[in-house]
Symmetry: C2
Subunit: 270 residues, 2 copies
């Protein structure tokens, strides 16, 4: 058992990344990571509060949860913090009408949003939707605005599909930022507001919480900057070079979610 397990003392709440921790997405819906279905079940039977905190912006919460339930996970929509609903709230509050560069799978989250005569661009993980034509359209909308606003659902660099690593929304966000000479507003991890919303949902303070993710920067580094602890799993997009990251030092590394949960259940109550 890892010596740093002691650092989990006093944890009351757990934020779980989904892609790369619970499952690897991909064709046919993806596949559960070995041991993760059981680990989630153990965690939810324990005294610890659990919240799923994802940057997945390719699927509506309904679709994501449906997919995970088919893979065997005990999860419901109201346990998930994801960027699309948070973005809709921001759009409404600020009277923004977005041009949407998003995946069809998440479009239903924006059903109630006015998209006429756009005064901003919202970009999410559009995957195949990141065509040259669609990128040009988003670029042209931004260039025609006096004060261009670009909202990005997460800024992940890449993630793992069952077929291999693929580009995430952050890469395309950077392309538009550079072309337009602007800086995007990021909704999702590692934005502190996003982590705080997830913690509020389970009534846990940052210093009592741990984030478990496969993204050394977005999950682990982001959580630590908010005062949480952060564990990196060696599944999903994890790469051996992450263990020598120049800036982010996780509170611990675990082979997978199953090991993380075993450590938590041993040490968190202390």
């Amino acid at each position: 058992m890892a010596a740093w397990g002691e650092r989990l003392a006093g944890v009351r709440g757990v934020l779980l990344d989904i892609s790369g921790v619970l499952y690897d997405c991909g064709a046919g819906g993806g596949r559960a990571i070995a041991g993760s279905v059981e680990a989630v079940a153990r965690l939810k039977q324990s005294h610890l509060k659990v919240r799923f905190c994802t940057n997945d912006s390719q699927k509506s919460r309904g679709k994501l949860v449906g997919l995970l339930r088919r893979l065997g996970f005990d999860i419901s929509e109201d346990e998930v913090t994801s960027p699309a609903p948070a973005t809709c709230q921001i759009l409404k509050e600020r009277g923004l009408r977005p041009h949407l560069l998003i995946h069809e799978g998440v479009r239903s989250e924006f059903d109630e949003i006015d998209t006429s005569n756009p005064n901003c661009v919202v970009i999410a993980d559009a995957a195949e939707g990141f065509s040259y034509q669609n990128m040009n359209k988003a670029f042209q909308v931004l260039m025609e605005l006096e004060n261009p606003v670009l909202i990005s659902l997460g800024k992940g660099r890449y993630y793992k599909e069952t077929s291999g690593l693929v580009l995430d929304v952050g890469a395309y966000m950077k392309a538009l930022e550079y072309a337009c000479g602007i800086e995007a507003e990021v909704v999702g991890k590692p934005s502190p507001e996003f982590f705080k919303a997830a913690l509020q949902a389970i009534g846990v303070e940052a210093h009592q919480a741990v984030m478990i993710g496969d993204d050394i920067v977005g999950d682990v580094g982001g959580a630590q900057r908010c005062g949480m602890r952060g564990l990196q799993v060696r599944t999903g997009k994890f790469r051996p070079s992450d263990e020598h990251h120049p800036e982010v030092k996780p509170d611990g590394y675990v082979d997978n979610l199953a090991e993380a949960v075993a450590l938590l259940l041993q040490h968190a109550h202390k």
Copy 2:
């Protein structure tokens, strides 16, 4: 006549950008900018040395020159400095075997390059070739290299087609840089080596030369950093906000190439 015309005294050589200065590219080959065909002819009949210095990486020099000649321009292949031949020289010198993310129109420039078992990625203005699939392939090649090398043919943010502004290679270069955590090597403007190669071809020193372009940063700013003078034309991708650029102050603005040439012929000999 512009008061700053005096600043053109002593000019012996002229570097001309092509897209946005000579013509606007687009469907059906694009169209010449009014007055530019005659302006090039006047310039070449004068005592001034002329070199075409383009970041166009979508077409081979042969195709580009053929297109311009059909539009009426007096131009030949050996008068053009463009990034593809410069890149091929670098690849050969350093024993690099590229994965090519390029437009079909420029592929012939790379005919003699070994692309087996790639140990670098070369990215050019691939236009429609910037699909999610092709971007992922380039990303994956880079991520599998121990020392990833990304060479970008220019780093333009956007350019003008007859249909409007479209993203240039620089935006996609930034996407790959961010995703891989690396910095690309740029071959083309505003790289000093590239400008120097163009000046050498006409035997003119930087302080005796002026660059005329529509890109405030890549053409004008890049040339000035090399000790040349730089004029911006109000054609092509020019936008009124360029006249208040926070960093680059051109030696002068002209409405188009015709005005630039008129000023040059009046003042350069002084």
